[in-house]
Every structure is written in structure tokens, then in C-alpha cells.
């Protein structure tokens, strides 16, 4: 089942956000 290609490391994601000039979408979830 395809789903969103989530990143898990916020610092890496921040770098990607700067490179792509996009905001971050953070999903805080309950892993159960």
C-alpha cells in the first residue's frame, strides 16, 4: 500500500525544506 514518503530526522528534513523552498509538514503520531 503506497503512502506518504515520510522523513524521520527533523534536521535532515529542514535541509531538504531549504533546498526545495517548502515548509515542513510534521505529523506527531501515536505509534500505539
Amino acid at each position: 500500500m503506497k503512502t506518504v514518503a515520510w522523513m524521520e530526522d527533523l534536521d535532515k528534513a529542514l535541509g531538504e525544506a531549504r533546498n526545495q523552498d517548502k515548509p515542513l509538514f510534521l505529523d506527531f503520531f501515536n505509534p500505539g
Binding site: 503512502t3 515520510w6 527533523l10 525544506a17 510534521l26 505529523d27 506527531f28 503520531f29
Partner: protein, 149 residues
């Protein structure tokens, strides 16, 4: 969200086109930084880690897509990137008029246009649109003073 909303193709496309998606367990140390006390808790954050919009609770695909655009639009708005803000907010208003995000998008679209033109007319038009299309929305009440412009 995992069972219904995230596997939906349009949601995947919206999230990946407009943002960098990150998943964080609610009990991770970052939850304290972003004051997360309940899940689902969806945040729109800029590259300086500043929070601009928050969504709490489950949303089905037809509501999450416009909610994502609203959140992205508010990041642009807060940064003064008014053209990009208007692009995303217009999309919410025109393509998802029945969504819960639409009234807030109408409000911030009017404010963005005001900031670009320094004319009160867009604020008045935003109120009139809200009154006509979303009379029970809290955003109609928030825009009510603009009827006098």
C-alpha cells in the same frame, strides 16, 4: 489517518508537492518543543522551526487536502510571500469551497490582497464572501468589522 487518509493518492500528492513531510512519535523530545499533547497533531513549520499552523484530530482526505494548502499558505503569508500565499489560498477557495478550511482561506486571502494593495476593498469583499457563503463560520464573525470599510 494511516488507514484511510494517508494512503489516498490525492493526499500523497498534496503533501509531497507542497511540503517536506516528517513523522515523529508523540513521545519524542521534539513533542515538547512543539507543545504536542494529543494526536493526530499536524504542524506546518518553516525552516527556522517556527510554527505557523496546527491541525488537531482526524481529517478525511477531502478535508485534509484543503487543510494542507491552508497550512502551507499561512507559512507563506507569515513570511510575507504574498503571491505564493494567494496561490494556495485561492486554490482552497476555488477548488474546495465546501471544506472546513475554506472560510479561513477566504479570510487570509482578503488580508493578503489588502497587504499587497493597501486598499480596504479586498477586506470588505472577503467579509461579503464569508457572509454569503459561510454565515455560521467564526471567520465571518472575525471579518465583521470589515463590512464598514
Amino acid at each position: 489517518m494511516d488507514a484511510v487518509t494517508y494512503p489516498t493518492q490525492s493526499v500523497i500528492e498534496h503533501i509531497e508537492k507542497h511540503s517536506i513531510p516528517v513523522r515523529i512519535p508523540f513521545d519524542a523530545p521534539l513533542a515538547r518543543e512543539f507543545v504536542v499533547k494529543w494526536t493526530p497533531n499536524l504542524l506546518f513549520v518553516d525552516t527556522e522551526r517556527a510554527l505557523h499552523h496546527r491541525i488537531i484530530g482526524f481529517l478525511p482526505p477531502e478535508e485534509l487536502n484543503p487543510a494542507i494548502l491552508l497550512g502551507v499558505g499561512k507559512v507563506f503569508f507569515d513570511h510575507g510571500d504574498l503571491d505564493r500565499a494567494l496561490g494556495t489560498l485561492n486554490h482552497v477557495v476555488e477548488k474546495h469551497p465546501a471544506s472546513h478550511a475554506a472560510p479561513e482561506a477566504v479570510y487570509f486571502r482578503g488580508v493578503s490582497q489588502y497587504k499587497k494593495t493597501h486598499s480596504g476593498e479586498p477586506l470588505k469583499r472577503a467579509y461579503e464572501k464569508l457572509k454569503a457563503a459561510y454565515p455560521e463560520s467564526e471567520w465571518t464573525k472575525r471579518a465583521a468589522p470589515y463590512r464598514l470599510l
